[in-house]
């Protein structure tokens, strides 16, 4: 008996009028959405390109990166050179658990996700005129960029972003360390 009731219920839900009304809600919502987008000042183009792009130095940068306004992007060679000169601070903006698994040797973890928590421990030790290079996983992540923007706003004068990040550094077989 209960099985029969369930079957009836299931049959009841697949009625054409219910399905048509469902489609109706989708159509009404979509129509309002498209109209609102066309009229709203914050509306976006209906066809967008969200893939990482190439900047004027032939570097792969995230879609949202604005050249000239955002902190400069640096390539692997530059990061490597600065790493060897030892007077640049590398800030890793990934989660602590990813940082622990492996990071650029000597880098400091300042996860953007937990900025409020970690910033008071990290930032007081960083002089405002020190060169800072931020990085995250690779070109698909943006926390290195948002962290760098945040640092600029806080008054840090020399902030750069290494978009190749952990992926590129690791692939190049450069010095890494793990925290256990």
């Amino acid at each position: 008996m209960p099985m029969l009731t369930q079957l009836k219920l299931f049959h009841g839900i697949l009625r054409t009028d219910i399905l048509l009304k469902t489609l109706g809600i989708i159509l009404i919502g979509s129509a309002i959405g498209l109209t609102y987008n066309a009229l709203s000042p914050g509306g976006i183009a209906l066809k967008g390109n969200w893939s990482p792009k190439i900047n004027s130095d032939s570097l792969v940068v995230p879609y949202g990166y604005e050249e000239g306004i955002d902190p400069p992007a640096v390539n692997l060679d530059y990061a490597m050179m600065k790493f060897q000169s030892k007077n640049t601070v590398f800030l890793d903006s990934r989660y602590p658990e990813d940082f622990k698994v492996g990071h650029i040797e000597g880098a400091i973890n300042l996860p953007y996700e937990e900025f409020e928590e970690h910033a008071p421990l990290v930032l007081p030790k960083l002089p405002k005129d020190e060169e800072i290079i931020t990085y995250c996983d690779g070109t698909e992540c943006e926390t290195s960029l948002v962290l760098a923007r945040e640092l600029l706003e806080l008054g840090y004068k020399d902030v750069k972003v290494f978009f190749g990040g952990w992926q590129e550094w690791q692939k190049a077989g450069l010095s890494v360390e793990t925290d256990n």
């Binding site: 989708i26 919502g29 959405g33 914050g42 976006i44 949202g64 992540c141 943006e142």
Partner: protein, 163 residues
């Protein structure tokens, strides 16, 4: 066995199902507002999921939040209740599939559920659990709403001939 029966009676009670309906409705409206306000950030999140082809990303990002909003509104008011909850269940199934694909691929993504912060909290499994709970609520509303406290019921009553 009696405990199970009592439990079934409680979760299929029309007042409890009304509560489920309201929770779903409010959740959907709340979830849609931030996406409506920040279409660009939401489109980026859709892109991060790497499921839709490029040309559909922005169209999806401007339409989905309003579909959610209308579905949420209809659930709260009780207009086309079965259809609205069926749509909600369908959306949760899509969210569950999309989240699972990315979870198993190990992609660090923002769920874009309640906020469009481009670097929101790493949710993963918690998000899936939440989606399944909401899916359950939606299924209960489809089958057991009994047209209780809905605007449709109000109109139906009014249109009945007086004795």
């Amino acid at each position: 066995m009696t405990i199970l029966k009592a439990l079934i009676r409680i979760v299929t009670d029309k007042r409890v199902v009304l509560l489920f309906r309201l929770v779903l409705g409010v959740t959907f409206i709340y979830a849609s507002l931030d996406k409506i306000a920040h279409p660009e950030q939401f489109a980026r999140i859709v892109y991060n999921y790497k499921i839709l082809p490029q040309f559909l990303i922005n169209i999806f990002a401007v339409t989905l939040p309003w579909v959610e909003f209308i579905a949420g509104l209809f659930l709260i008011l009780g207009i086309f209740t079965e259809s609205a909850s069926l749509l909600v269940c369908f959306l949760f199934i899509i969210f569950i599939i999309a989240t699972s694909i990315n979870l198993f691929q190990g992609v660090d993504l923002n769920c874009g559920c309640f906020s469009t912060d481009p670097v929101g909290k790493k949710e993963g499994a918690n998000l899936l659990i939440k989606d399944f709970i909401f899916l359950y609520l939606g299924i209960m509303v489809i089958f057991f709403n009994k047209n209780f406290a809905t605007l449709s019921a109000l109109f139906q009553k009014k249109s009945l001939p007086k004795r």
